[in-house]
Each structure stands twice: as structure tokens, then as C-alpha cells.
Symmetry: C4
Subunit: 285 residues, 4 copies
Amino acid sequence: MDSVMAHFRAGSKVVTVRAPNVLECPSMQATTSSRSSAPRRKASPYPLDRELVNDLVAANRTLARLGVLDAFGHISVRDPRQPHRYLISRSIAPETINAADILLLDLDSQTVDPRDEGTLLYRERFIHGEIYKARPDVSAVVHSHSPTVVPFTVTRAKLRPLLHNAGFLGLGVPLFEIRKHAGNGTDLMILTPNLGKDLAKKLGKDAAVVLMRGHGDSVVGPSLPNAVFRAYYTEINARQQLAAITIGGPTNFMTHAEALTSNQAMLNASARPWALWRKRALAER
Amino acid sequence: MDSVMAHFRAGSKVVTVRAPNVLECPSMQATTSSRSSAPRRKASPYPLDRELVNDLVAANRTLARLGVLDAFGHISVRDPRQPHRYLISRSIAPETINAADILLLDLDSQTVDPRDEGTLLYRERFIHGEIYKARPDVSAVVHSHSPTVVPFTVTRAKLRPLLHNAGFLGLGVPLFEIRKHAGNGTDLMILTPNLGKDLAKKLGKDAAVVLMRGHGDSVVGPSLPNAVFRAYYTEINARQQLAAITIGGPTNFMTHAEALTSNQAMLNASARPWALWRKRALAER
Amino acid sequence: MDSVMAHFRAGSKVVTVRAPNVLECPSMQATTSSRSSAPRRKASPYPLDRELVNDLVAANRTLARLGVLDAFGHISVRDPRQPHRYLISRSIAPETINAADILLLDLDSQTVDPRDEGTLLYRERFIHGEIYKARPDVSAVVHSHSPTVVPFTVTRAKLRPLLHNAGFLGLGVPLFEIRKHAGNGTDLMILTPNLGKDLAKKLGKDAAVVLMRGHGDSVVGPSLPNAVFRAYYTEINARQQLAAITIGGPTNFMTHAEALTSNQAMLNASARPWALWRKRALAER
Amino acid sequence: MDSVMAHFRAGSKVVTVRAPNVLECPSMQATTSSRSSAPRRKASPYPLDRELVNDLVAANRTLARLGVLDAFGHISVRDPRQPHRYLISRSIAPETINAADILLLDLDSQTVDPRDEGTLLYRERFIHGEIYKARPDVSAVVHSHSPTVVPFTVTRAKLRPLLHNAGFLGLGVPLFEIRKHAGNGTDLMILTPNLGKDLAKKLGKDAAVVLMRGHGDSVVGPSLPNAVFRAYYTEINARQQLAAITIGGPTNFMTHAEALTSNQAMLNASARPWALWRKRALAER
């Protein structure tokens, strides 16, 4: 759905209502919000790439629909034209994000466009900025409370790749224990640039995923589709590893070589689910 | 995308109302649809706050959609203008509740408006009234058969916070064993004011959640959005604790200080999912 | 949806198409089939009670939506006006059933209306007829492959009531092992009147549920809403008992007296979910 | 209830077709929607059977909806008029497949119609071609990452039939360990005709299912509905076996004779779910 119009099905025709006629209604506004504000963006001194914005909207809605993101969590994408900046939504629930909610931040996680001043930002946005600083190879970051990953952050079992789609877990799955960095009494959130730096350091130079104790994970990728793919299959691998633990006995994990080969193959193969996911997400309200 | 027309079932015919007649907005009017009785409420000597009523409708539909409430369970909210009274639905399944179903009860859980006499009330409504009496800090109560919480009411494992969103569990999770209060042969239901008082006493002065053996739980909060948030994350924490038990070995639960800090943080943070949940719920049916 | 008409939403009006106009289309037929054949039923020497037929349609769709029935399984209801006969669908998947699919069988599970001769019947319909013969107190029977009940039919754990809604399990949960009745090489199905009699005997005079090894269960009730309620909460109790086993240690099951009291209470309380389920099911296509 | 109009997205505009133009039936036309290319097929020297194409579309959408297929996986059906060829989609996600995506391949898994040259094919299509070569009795193949089957490919538990619908598992459930055929460093995929042959050999002459370590399974059947049925009940049996393991103690699996009898019975019985699944799938989108 691309137009600023709302289309209603009628018995024998499509009724098209122009946006000005439907703005009295909150639910319609959700549908049309990105459009009503599109003009504002166009006039911005920091115009955003429309397709990249749509990608980011689709990524948020997709991981919400797939159950990786709940009402919290956030996804960002580095701006390929200005790699010292990244796109991320203002602070709202992922499944409700529209194009007009997408903002441009610098790597200190501050807004760039003066007109965005005062907009409510994700409090944990430093996760994104600090990872982009530390990892030039990273183009997208997903932070989530992935439900079956959380139990692996509070137990001694190591999350390891057993499903071939999850070979990227073979790059290492470090665990960030916030107590070591901020003491015994935090709310487990990454609320400062320094904690963001600590998290990025724990992620290291190679890993695709860093677990966050009692909290969730942060997943990175060389592209947005790949980061979304990895966030999803981290959850799936966790579910299957949990089932393997239930079955009992030794688990035949992937070898390191298999994991690396598979990770390479999936850099391209993630295009197939992405095509499906993006189309479906952008067709939603 | 729905029609701009609203269709109501009314007995055996479909009533079609044109948009201009329905508050400019199909989704809002969906909320007020069974408001054939709305006029009645307006003329009431005990008019209810419209936004609070919509909040309560949204809370019911949301926790039904999220799987915390089944066809049973109920939610109430204290009336901030008259704290000795609370709002709750008449006795119907949560996901079917509309604004016209919301009633005003006093803290003895009796109807206030004479015209509500004879309306079928939840038999366990004393849970709500007695908790409001005992806990002036409580503004909302959720009683549910939360599916993954029930197993923790019949086993010796203690439900404890491991997910940072569930820090409120660190305030204590007492277990109400009805056998100690009403003997060995009840149907486990809180059917009298006295049992309501016993339950409120077991909840105590600090806890946010009281487990009810073989039955479910009752969750309280300083606001309706916060109580809904807590009811949801009690279920999520139970699922994740179950997974941690499956994985085995010691579980790295939150420290008491972490739980308290997190609980404080979530008093505000529950606004984000609430915005999403309320909007979505009121756009339904 | 009650009429023989199909209603489409239009921008400003409801377009109503008479059935003869929409019969070219298989998917529309599904919607309108019960109506196209309504005239036939009216002229039948064995007219069915319209509300009872709708109840049975709603029961099938509901248990399919709730995941108790898959594409197999069947539900019947005794005809209160002629207790030696019962209503059941012809042999199709439960979620696709419409009013026109409902047939009248005698207690030998044979069709009554000569015009139904040759209609494909459920092969296991003897489950229903033989239970009605053996249990005059039973008004409805649900046979399903309830997914979490099946594991309890092939292991030594006894399914027992832990959730107050499932007190009826306290009436006993016998296990039917078909090998004892038909040897080691059957397909586990109840394909003959004699096997139906054996199953009814295993159910006994009191139980509400009989487990069928490697197959599922059959659930009975004094009313259709109650049988649907029991079939659903048998599945829920099985899920919660599985979780309790995962948690480990002794499980605090209901006492026998609690189970009986609860069972009595739920005979009435099953009206609440039924009102929700029926309305929702009949609003579906 | 949908409009009687059909709306197609075509690049940037919505094309609306009146019902009389679309085969009298919105749902059928939904199936053929991306049939901008249908005319092309009609003129093909290798015209495909329209009903078989619709069957294959329905099979893909059904197993995606049932959670057996994720964005990966593929289904094929042997062409009964030319058994040395088979139908399969081009390389896209199963739930998005339309009739125009279906291609004809020979048993070396190469395209037949010169106009299909350059179309992106599933990289693992050799699974299908090589199984058809080795097993003349096989008419359809499903390859999936069936989520609860994967854990059984990396543990020592043997997947065995416990649910009567899954009697076909009694024909044997061999495990394909790719390390034995292609070494320690593959991405676990069947990317060559030789690996396809090895997999077909491991499947053997009798089995209906071959497990693929860390990857999923391939399921075959004498008909497409039966192969879809088997793929679904392999997943269901795996879930129930996992639950039986959780319950603990010995599991009362089907005897070999029961499994064989059940398998025979289900060759016909799979028609019932297929009727439901096909109708529902073709009514989508």
C-alpha cells in the first residue's frame, strides 16, 4: 500500500478517499501517518532514503509478527550514504512503526535534524551507536527480548548452532553480564554511552550475537535483511536447542567449519525470506 | 481495511450506520457499539468517565488477545474520582466486553446504580473489592487463569524474576492455598467477601502478584496500564522460568536490588506497550 | 450470519446477493451452503431443530479454532425431542462444517432420513451411538486427537485435575487400549459397533473422558456446551500437567472433593465461554 | 466476507477486475492472480495441468500456514502424464507461491521449457529429481525445516510413530548425516546431483521420511495430498514424542503391524484434510 489514499472495497468498485478526509480517525491515521508527514521529510535538510526507511519499517513489523520483538526492542540501519549516522524509529512499539517515525541519529545516538529535537528516543539507543562505532562491518542492529533466548542468558547452557540456518552462531555467542559493568542494582538496561561501549566490546570483532543477561540479545549483520534473518534464527535455534535438551543425550551441533560455511551461504540466502517478509509487512496497515 | 460503514448485529437484522453518525471514526465507534446503552449511561446519576471505561475495555481485550485471560477472568480499575468505588464489567467473557458492559461497584462489590440491579455480576468480584480496601496504593486488579502461571501454583518451584520486565516479582509472590481458609472441598473460587479478605491479606502490603493454587493469580498495580503490563510479564516470566528449568542447572535470577530498580523503571515504561495495546484493542470489533 | 443471503460491505451500503447468484463459486458455496439446502431440510420428514444445528456447527468450528480438533475428530449432540437419535456432521473436517452438513443418525449410527443414504459418514461414528446407548445421562460427545492429551495416552502418567476448571477429570480418566479388544494390528480406529460398545464400557458410568491409546480421547457431557467446555479444558489441564512435570517435584492436584464441587460449579459456568464461542463461530464464514 | 471484486497489485497501481471476468469466482481467481503469465503458459509447448498446478500451490501455502515450512523448503509433484518430469516452484518462499511460479523440471532437475531458462531455481532441487529416479512409487516430495523434527536429527532419540495418523513412520525413519558424504565443512545443503542420489539412497526403498541432520527432513508419498499429510503428521508426532519424553517412563509406541495398517488406512483418509486445506489455501490472497 503506497498511496496517500485509503481504499475501501465496495460491492462493485473501489472507493478511494483522500487522506484529508480520513484524518479525524486515529486508526486511519496510523495507516496514513507516514504519508501525511512525507512532505515534511522531503523538505528536510537531511532527507532519508525512502526505500531504506521502508526496509526499516518492514523489519520492525516483521520481527514483531514473528514473535522476536514484543512491545519493546528496536532495530536500526546504518545510512550507507553517510556511515557515521543511522536510522531508527522514535520510541514506540515496533509493530506500530510507520515511515514518519524513522529518525536519523549520529553515532553518539543524538538526533541530527533540529526538527527532531524533543522527540522521545529509545533510552537504550546507545546499543546501536556504540556498535556502529566499534564494528565498521556492521550495517544493521536488532535489539530484542527474544523469548526463548532469554532463558539461555540466565543458565549455563551455551547457545550453539544446530540448525544450518543459524551457522552465524558459530562466530561466537558472548554473554554480557551487566553486573560486572554497572553493579548489582541496575534495571539491566543499557542507558549510557559507556554501557553501550561495554556491550559493543563484549560483542567483539567477530560475533553476530551478544546475549544480555536477563534481558535479551543484540544481533548484528552486514545488511538489514541479514540482521533480521539472524535475529529470527537465533530464536528458532534456541527453541530447537531447548527441545534437544528435553530429548536428552549429546547434541550433534554443527562443526565450526560447517557453521562458517553456512554463515557465508546465508548472507545471500537471507534474500528469500526477506522478499516475503518485506512484502507482507508493507502490505499491513 | 474496513468499510467506512459500521454494521451492527441487532437481533435478527443488520443495522448500518453511516460514518458521520458515528463519531467520525469507525474504530472509535466499534468501541462504543453496544452503546445502545450509552444514552442510558449519560443520564445516569453515576456517570462513568468515558476514557477510563475505554481503558478498561482495552485492558480486557488486550489480555484476552495475549492469552493471559481465557473466557474467564476479570479486570477492574478504581475510580480516581471516588476511590471507594471501582469499575468492572458485568459477567461476560473478557474479549467480548464493550463500554456498555462496564459497571460501578462499591468496595463491598455491590452495584451502586439502582438500574444495574439484577445484572449478572462476576461471582469472584470480592477479589477486587477486598484488595482495594486493603491496599490504598492499588488502582487496578487483574484476575486470570494465566496458563503458564497455574503450574507454578501447584508445584514447589518459586516463581522468581529472571526477565528485567518482571522485576515486580521481586516484591514477593505469595501463594494462596484456599484449603487453609475454606477446607478441602471447595471449587477453589473466591465466592465470599471473607475469602476475598483472606486473599487480600495473603497478597500483603507489598506484593504485586498473589498466586492462587490450582486457579491462577491476581495482579495489582498503581495504574491500569501497569497492572496489565504486570499480568502479561508474569506469564512471560513463568514461560521463561519453565524453559530455564528445562535447560537445567542454577538460574541466574535478578538480585533483589535489580528487581526493585527494574520495577521502578517499568512504572513508566509500561506506557509504551499500553499505547500499542490500547490502540489495537479499541480498533477491534 | 443467519440469512440465505450473502452480504458484501460496500463503501456506503451493504450489497446483498441472493444465493442463486453466488453458487458458481466454491468458496461462496461454503458460506451459503447451509442455506441453499435449508429448503430441503424444511420439507424433510425429519426436520432438525435449527438452533441445535447451529449449536453443533458452532461447537465444531470452536474446537477446531481452539486447536482441540484438527482436520479429523467429530462432535455429536443427542436430539432432545427424540433421545434415540443424534445429530452429527457428514464426514468432513470440523472447521468447514455448515448447517447443511448436519445429519440425523439413530443409536446404531445409521442415517434416518432416506435422502441421506449414500452420504459419506464418519467411520468412527459408533463412538457416539454406543455411548448414547450406554449413558442416558449423556447429551453430547466430542471425539478428538487433542494434541497434548495424546502423550498422556502412551505414557504411564495419569491425567489428573490440577486446574479448577478441569474438576470433571476427578470423575476418572480411564484408558482404552484397543489391543486388548482388537489385537495387535489395527489402525487404532473404532470402526465397528462392537468396538464402540467396548469403548463405552471403558468410559463407564461416571467418567467424563476416556483416553484412547495413540489416538486421542472421547469426552461426554450432560449438554453440548458442557462437553465442548470439558474437551477444551482436558487439553488445557494436560498442557499444565506437562508443565508441572517439567518443573518437577510433587504436584498439588485437586482433592476428590474439590474436583466434584468444581465439576458441579462448571455445569453452569460453562455457559460463559459458550456464549462467546458460539457467537464468534457463527460469525465466521 | 470479501468483495466480489478482485484487486491485484500491479507495480504501483491497483487493478480491479469485475467478477464476470474472473472465472466466476474470486477464490479461483486469487489462485491464478499472478497469471499475468497464464497466457504465456497456455501457449507453451509444455502446458501444465491446471488442477495439478493448483494442487501444488495449495500444498505450499498449506504447509506454510501449518508451520511445517518456513520461508525455505519446497514441494514437488511428479507429472502423471510424463513421469520423467516434475513440477516445482521457482525459488521463492512457499507461502507466496502462485500458479505462474510453477515450473516443469526433468529428473536431472533442469528446466524443460526453453523460456524458463535463467529463472532462479531452488538450489536443493536435486532432492526431488533424485528421489523420483530412485523411487518410481513416489509421486510427491516435501522438503522442509520442520521445526520439531530438527531436534530429532541432532539427538539419539529415534522418531517413532505414537499417533495413529503417523503410522507411516513405521516404514522407517533413516537419518542422513551429510558429513559421511561431503565431509566436515559443508553448509548441510544438498547442492549437487550426487548428494541428491546419496540422500535418495538413504531414504531407501520403503521409508516415507528421511531425516537430514541439522537441517530438516524430506517426506515422500504416493500422491501429493498424502505427502502433505505425512509432512504435517511427522511434525505433530515429533511434538507429541517430545511431550512423552518430558512425561518420562516408557512410551507405548505403535506396533509395527499397527503402523502398517494405519499407513494403509491413511492413504485414503488423507483426502479429508486435503479437501479442507486445498479449499482454504486457494481462497487466500
